[in-house]
Amino acid sequence: METKVKNKCKKNKTDRSDAKKIIKTALAGNPNVGKSSLFNRLTGLGRHTGNWSGKTVDLASGFFSVSENEVCELVDLPGTYSLYARSEEERVSRDFICFSNAEKIIVVVDALSLERNLILALDICEARENVVLVLNLMDEAGRSGLCIDIERLSKMLSVPVIPASAKTGMGLDEIKRAIANDSTSSASTPVSRSVARAAINTVCQTIEHIGKTNKLSAHWLAVKFLENDAEFVSQIAFHLAYTPDELLMIDDAIGRANEILENSGSDPNKFSDYAAECTLKRAREIGDACVQRKPKEKQTLSEKLDRYVLGKYTAYPIMLVLFAAILWLSAIGANYPSDLLFRAFSFVGDRLSYLMCDLPELIRAPLLDGVYLVLTWVVSVMLPSMAIFFPLFTLAEDFGLLPRIAFCLDEPFRRSGSCGKQPLAMCMGLGCNCTGIMGSRIIDSDHERLLSVLTNSFVPCNGRLPLLITLSSLLFIGLSVHLRGVLSAIVLLLFILLSVFVTMILCRLLSGTFLHGDRSSITLELPPYRTPNVGQVIVRSVLDRTLRVLGRSVLVAAPAGFVIWLISNLTFCGRTPLSMLNDLLDPLGKFLGMDGVILSAFVLGMPANEIVLPIILMSYKGGGLLTQTPSLSTLCMVLTNNGWTTKTIVCTAVLCLFHFPCAPALLTVFKETHSKRAAIMSVAIPLTVGATLCMLLSLGFSLFS
């Protein structure tokens, strides 16, 4: 029934919007209070929710019906700690709360941490009319022996208060009823700011006289004018459409108010602090009056877990084991479904070639051996590892592990000029650099985010990991299978550590030279561990991340397949363009410890790094068809016959780690930074590092041999 109504609303949103009244409502609150879960519960959109402070960057909205002829459009705002906004997300939230045409604001607060949440809630209640307070996580609060006097809280705040739980569904109907209730409630009585009362009243009178306050309270506006936050004041002037004359009147009033403040012995410059302290004091008073806590008897499970996860000797080993497990699963474990996909695709490919046998060879070959082959190649390598990696990563995120990893790694990364959230973006980069680059959004400070975006391609994504694994096994080809497995795993880990090490050094260098700026404030919240909703995580991470990343790669891989077929099959004067390119790059390749074939494979593999090794093999064999990697011994023979030595293997591995980002990643850098300069740097930096390292390695090898 419920879903039916919802679908109907969606369908009829455009053509029958006059029949149903739409009530625009926003969901505001601190980070980590379960806003997004509540949003999902109410709208049924099932949008992904993360246990990570400030993860919601884009505004999500959904519809649901609240009464027979009313529909609510709910907007999920980014979490903020107060209306004092500094980051882009906070500004979005603040401006939406203050200036949007939203009829109601639902402020979601964490019942377990009422006092701190009230700081924001009090500010919003004081600022505008039609605010509803929702006490989320009431089930957890009940379990931990917390008792909240709802009626008293409602009276003290003078707004409706609804106890709720997104997990159990408690209070959802009351929320809908509160939204449907069309009686207007005014902004709540302002927090007492006794010292500054006269000063605030002076400004308040002028604002009331001008009259353009929309949904906002004149008293609250007066406080904001006196806080003298230039950016916000200009926003207020813009949205409330104050004329220059009116602004002059307000300025005049502010001048008088500041005089009053000075005469009473307080510093007008400290008014902002004073106002915030008054709000905090009031939050404490309300907390003391309405909350009864039972003294805690024993440690919660969350605290016990933290003893190990954050423990001095256990933290890094635990992280390393988890990291290795995720890496193993997405790199090795994914081979089996990969093989299956390969076989399925080649079966379909055979059928297709049978069906298309009537077509002329010149059309059939590029389509099948070019586009289809590369496309299916990319899909069968990428899809399984991503379908494993992303859900696992999202589970760790929802469980609450990621902020803790950021906490443990903050110091080493702080020293290299970045912050603890960068390794998280790097971990995402292991799945796919595009996601890693987008994931850098979790970093607050602009320049630290840019560092993370520029250096993300140093982390080998799962398109490059198979090549690295093959290369590390080739190093130990003469040994027994088990010994080879262990040694090559160690070498692989060393390669990854090298990439982390180089990332840190470069961050240090870049932040010391032309990328210096504000340090992020890292007031990182460590929320309690929460059981993730496994079903939802798997559906969302497959839909949101895996398919999106895959779609982007497919778009690039298809034309690339065509181009690769063309240059490896067309002949000019008896030679293919590919072999010409190989010869052209050969001197440079030799200088860097490799050969031209390897370099041109990296160039041609730019759309998708998965096909680098197949291109190398195709060049050596001289055919015009990409071939699957043969068994290790055959591969070794082919490569040795073409002059590969240990030097070649090591240099290729290093170049695999440090070359330019793949085409989709490059596009993502540009989209995230909106800067051509950043995109160019993201190519130039790794290329320089890779070339330098390869040159040094090649020199070193020739010295020793």
Partner: protein, 89 residues
């Protein structure tokens, strides 16, 4: 006057398990306001919850929420031990 030179107890000095009351917030501008928004102002009870493996940063419980605050910021917040707390420096 440089507060580093004086032997003043700050948030950065306390260890996991210690409970303190905030005396003074010596941060300026934005960070000062950030701390206020988290509820950290004179009179607030703060408990150190954990310490990252390399010693910094530390995590503090403020009004039943846990926050990591970087060393540079934590050492600008003067505190005193809640009376009866055993682990004096």
């Amino acid at each position: 006057m440089n507060i580093d030179d004086l032997d003043i107890l700050t948030l950065a000095d306390i260890n996991p398990g210690d409970e303190v009351i905030v005396l003074k917030n010596n941060l300026t501008d934005e960070m000062r306001r950030r701390m206020l928004d988290l509820g950290i102002s004179p009179g607030t009870h703060v408990t150190c919850i954990a310490c990252a493996p390399c010693g910094r940063p530390k995590a503090y419980a403020v009004y039943s929420s846990t926050f990591a605050i970087r060393y540079d910021n934590a050492r600008k917040i003067e505190v005193e031990y809640v009376s009866g707390n055993k682990s004096q420096k």
